[in-house]
Symmetry: C2
Subunit: 404 residues, 2 copies
């Protein structure tokens, strides 16, 4: 039986290591002798950066720690392979390295760009007649992967956001002065994370007053009018916006301010500042009102101290399924979720062709977005994904982790 | 037996309501018939905004929820009473309201400015021969109250910061590109919160590389040199700074940038931007390095989902002690902590004259601050305060709260 290698790619999540734990555990159960990890994804693999995981992860305690450790244990990369029909040198290099380590199964945990890697590697394998199996394991806090009901990583980010919004709503209302608080949530194009702020609302918490997703054009005049109306009725107004909200002309709100913006290694715009922009706008246009903006920032994707147990279990399951699929001979596939029922929540894993998934972006449906808020569909859809907690293993008052 | 009233003032914390729970519970145990809450502190009290707490808090379930609900349950204010020897109209108004409700005991949960309120009200009571007893209950995430070993609220903020710094350190190191991350922590003048980032470091986490408190002048040239040296050795450099760091001329770093600043109701500067300023500075001066800044922002003071159990218990205890002290005839006093031992941690409550405490700011000792980091004294001092967790009561996947 050949060996198996696993890599992690793209932005980290709070539960991406649970998928690694699931894949490793299943691979060992299937009798695979050596499970390799690639450090810094395919980019590190190309430099020969591999590590044998068998000893490092070969204890129940370490698997438990791994499930609770945020960010990519193996390191990550943002690296897009060239098209298969172009220059093949890089593919030759990859396959020769795979051959040298006697690897028959290649698992890649990542988002859209990583599924593109699985797609291309499996295509190349077909072309050259390699029998290495390539399986994609989805992860993304943004929940923007197509075909699958949802993606591991999203549930924990949603749980964290809903919780923090509740706490912030409490904090914002303590003074009896008119104040507007703007919370800026991650999400370039898909508003799933921002929408999850709607789960903050319940009998004991009014939640956010307004929620704006990037899927619909943002009208600043209407927004100011809505804030004015709300501020006349209640002293604390809480607005949740996505970092990626845009005006009708397609221009990012954060580009309207004086904030500079730059691009990451994939050429994606690094954004910040939509909240700051609106804070300034409200201060200028609604006299005498206190306004501040809060960016929830990176903790959204790495707050494993309060991750969703459902998410951790599902992340573990997709990792395990991927290993089993590879061993059973599947390739060019991705493990996805199919939801059977919302309540009681039932969800199964399935395999799908990676071509269906790679490079497609799934957004919040139009009919789930209403005028400055979201519909109950959002709550019905997200609620099951944030259920349960896995107590951190505490040492010296802080959650214990595992480090490579 | 006369009635008792409790108020909350100043910035909220994750455990300020545990003090309210403790005060309420002890007052009822002492046989006080009616326990009033003032809404929005003394400012609301002056407008007659009081609420009877007996029914609202009269169940074990609600007390448990209150201990887990962040921010000031009763609302808060930032309001400083005039000097007692000046215009007395406001004092007459307060005492006439106290008389109307047959209040004999007045507890005020707050920070430095709130202890000033207790000082002035007890002074006025002496002058006019009133036998209303005034007791202060300390709270502040900043830990800047004098005389007491530490303040309730700090331990939970420190636990949250240490935890989030650990998670962010994991997140920051996933890519193999040279990157500097700057984490900006709350703290105008006292660096206790920023110092608590040192608790992130342990066998399984390298923690932050540099820590800068507002107590020592910040030298930008030295800082850039240090970052350069670190970046040559490791790919991810994490720097934790206080929002209040200043250059040797006393100028706030955030005032050096183009960020506008404003003042709150106490005339304190509202600051943000030291992290942003340094981010820009590093980008300009260290070519090719990736740099971003993250403000930990408001969640630092309201993350009750991961509060310190030690802090909750101590907050409850100071509230209870204050009620007992008032009933036993004490006035013009504050409940403080005296630490007997670090390990095993032993800490007792004591009463001190409010004059010793009000308007004095306690900073991190000079000898606990070293060149770009803090000494082990910081860890020894803070570690016991972050021990233990009180599981949130979860409903629908998010922590349940109680609302007035």
């Amino acid at each position: 039986m050949p060996n198996l290698i696993i890599g992690q790619s793209g932005g980290p999540t709070a539960v991406i290591n649970a998928s690694l734990a699931g894949a490793f555990s299943a691979a060992k159960e299937k009798g695979i002798k050596t499970v390799y990890g690639m450090q810094h994804g395919i980019k590190g693999f190309l430099r020969g950066e591999t590590v044998v995981l068998d000893e490092i992860l070969g204890s129940d305690e370490n698997i438990e720690l791994l499930k609770r450790t945020p960010a990519s244990f193996l390191g990550s990369c943002r690296f897009k392979l060239p098209d298969v029909d172009g220059d093949c040198e890089i593919y030759e290099q990859i396959f020769s390295r795979l051959h040298a380590l006697d690897i028959g199964y290649f698992l890649y945990i990542g988002g859209n760009d990583s599924m593109d890697t699985i797609k291309k590697l499996s295509e190349y394998a077909s072309i050259v007649g390699s029998d290495v199996k390539f399986i994609g394991v989805p992860k993304t806090i943004d929940n923007d992967l197509a075909v699958t009901d949802h993606s591991p990583g999203f549930g924990s980010a949603a749980k964290y956001i809903a919780t923090v919004v509740r706490e912030l709503v409490c904090d914002c209302r303590v003074y009896d002065v008119e104040a507007v608080t703007i919370l800026e949530i991650m999400g370039r194009n898909a508003g799933w994370l921002t929408a999850s702020a709607a789960l903050a609302r319940s009998r004991d918490c009014e939640g956010a007053d307004l929620i704006y997703l990037p899927e619909k054009p943002f009208d600043e005049e209407e927004f100011i009018a809505k804030v004015r109306t709300l501020a006349a009725k209640k002293h604390s107004v809480v607005v949740v916006i996505s970092e990626g909200i845009r005006t009708a002309d397609g221009k990012l709100l954060c580009e309207r301010g004086e904030n500079d913006s730059s691009v990451d290694a994939f050429g994606h715009k690094i954004m910040s500042g939509a909240g700051k922009y609106l804070e300034t706008s409200i201060r200028k246009r609604i006299r005498g009102i206190k306004c501040r903006s809060v960016e929830l920032s990176t903790p959204q994707r790495c707050a494993s101290h309060f991750a969703s147990l459902t998410d951790i279990n599902e992340a573990f399951a997709v990792g395990a399924e991927a290993a089993c699929a590879a061993v059973s001979g599947e390739s060019g596939k991705v493990v996805i979720f199919v939801r059977k029922s919302d309540s009681p929540y039932e969800c199964a894993t399935e395999l799908r062709d990676v071509h269906e998934i790679a490079n497609v972006e799934r957004k919040v449906p139009d009919e789930w977005i209403c005028d400055g808020y979201v519909t109950d569909d959002v709550v019905r859809y997200i609620r099951p994904l944030i259920q349960g907690e896995l107590s951190p293993i505490i040492e010296d008052g802080v959650p214990k982790m595992i480090r490579l």
